[in-house]
């Protein structure tokens, strides 16, 4: 079997390398220290993709990938603490930078469609973003307070 550069398994390796570079430049964690953690994250992705394939229903891969990450680091999982410690060497912000790099490149094609939108829809969008954030935060704050968490 020949692996193509278009295969998610290969793309993820490339993203992992980009992240190790960013993790070094931005957060001063050298790639050798971060490697075991990155390898674990990579295996979680591969495992998650496999589970997505064999599970019934149409849940997206991100759900199973996250769940697998949760299970492997839970306090009740024997190696949980070790897995969490190793993966903590990969800063989550370092992982977001390549994603938004690809997103930035692809954004160009939406600019023309966006220009055709009126100013009204932009105002509504801002309203929706602010509203969703503030309403959720206020509810969360009140419930955390009522249940004595904060």
């Amino acid at each position: 079997m020949k692996l193509s550069i278009k295969d998610p398994v290969v793309i993820t390796v490339i993203v992992a390398i980009l992240t190790l570079v960013g993790n070094f430049v931005g957060y001063k964690i050298d790639p050798i220290t971060a490697f075991p953690g990155m390898l674990i994250l990579y295996l979680i992705v591969i495992g998650g993709l496999w589970i997505t394939k064999i599970m019934p229903g149409n849940l997206p891969a991100v759900v199973y990938v996250s769940l697998l990450g949760i299970v492997l680091t839970m306090p009740w999982f024997p190696l949980g603490e070790k897995v969490a410690e190793l993966t903590s060497q990969v800063n989550f912000l370092a992982l977001t930078t390549p994603i938004l790099g690809y997103a930035g490149i692809s954004m160009g094609k939406d600019i023309d469609a966006f220009r055709k939108q009126g100013v009204k829809i932009v105002l509504v969008a801002i309203f929706v973003f602010v509203g969703t954030y503030i309403a959720s935060a206020v509810i969360a704050h009140m419930v955390l307070k009522l249940t004595g968490q904060i």
């Binding site: 793309i11 492997l72 992982l95 930078t97 938004l100 690809y102 973003f129 969360a140 419930v143 904060i150």
Partner: protein, 265 residues
């Protein structure tokens, strides 16, 4: 073979973007009463946009389409990472379960306030598509199913979707920082609110919060990730069974009767 080269080219561009963005690093500064946090991911986004045919012409239309297909795959590692953020804090997250679940209804507050606002601006059926959610891909699919994307509702959701794609993460990154420094809300609550259903918007908001409250970094990241996961799971049902019916109801109450009269004439 040509496609392979295109992929390689995009990865190399992103490598340059990553190095530049991380080299600049996170910057935060005070503006009035609030703090504005600028994250490397936001520079990567803007620099990426600059590579396009309208600016530096390093990438063309085909490159942009391929880049879009790479986003979905590149998110997987981040999702694995978020899983490992949630895992160790699971006992705390379970204890905060009620807050985590109930804040999911915050979205409906947007409908209550957003619908009148959109109608006031002169939008009509577009208002339904525009205000029932923060318009990410699953929401686009719902409207496409129920009304079609060519309908006024479809135009509404598409408009907010485009706004979110273009400046959603920038907006949430800036806004979370300002909200955290100006509003009397607990960082945990702000973290939960960050899980709006988009990995990049949530990361931008959480990244800003972590910069402001570094001693709570672990909990903030875990709450944001858990809430985002919850939104991913319940968002579709919330939209179909609650938000859209609410929008329809408000539309009937606020303009429906008059609109019908007009069309009858």
């Amino acid at each position: 073979m040509l496609e392979d080269k295109r992929h390689l080219k995009l990865h190399l561009i992103v490598l340059v973007l990553v190095v530049l963005a991380e080299f600049i690093g996170t910057k935060s500064f005070k503006v009035g009463p609030g703090t504005v946090v600028l994250l490397p991911m936001l520079y990567a986004l803007l620099l990426g946009l600059l590579t396009g045919p309208k600016f530096l012409r390093i990438t063309d239309m085909e490159d942009m389409k391929t880049a879009e297909s790479l986003i979905t795959v590149s998110v997987l590692l981040l999702m694995a990472k978020y899983g490992t953020n949630i895992g160790p804090t699971l006992p705390l997250i379970i204890k905060s379960g009620p807050a985590l679940i109930l804040q999911e209804f915050g979205n409906l507050g947007t409908v209550l306030l957003g619908m009148p606002f959109a109608l006031m601006l002169g939008l009509r059926r577009e208002a339904i598509g525009a205000t029932f959610s923060i318009a990410r891909e699953p929401n686009l699919a719902i409207i496409s199913d129920m009304y079609g994307l060519d309908s006024p509702e479809g135009r509404g959701v598409m408009g907010v979707y485009l706004c979110g794609t273009l400046f959603g993460s920038i907006f949430f990154g800036l806004f979370a920082g300002i909200a955290a420094t100006t509003l009397p809300l607990h960082p945990y609550a702000l973290a939960m609110a960050s899980g709006v259903g988009s990995a990049s918007m949530m990361s931008a908001a959480v990244g800003a919060l972590v910069e402001i409250f570094p001693n709570m970094a672990e909990e903030i990241t875990a709450f944001g990730a858990a809430s985002n996961l919850a939104t991913g799971a319940d968002g579709v049902y919330m939209s179909i069974f609650m938000a859209i019916p609410m929008c329809e109801w408000m539309y009937r109450k606020l303009v429906g009767d008059r609109a019908e009269e007009v069309t009858k004439r």
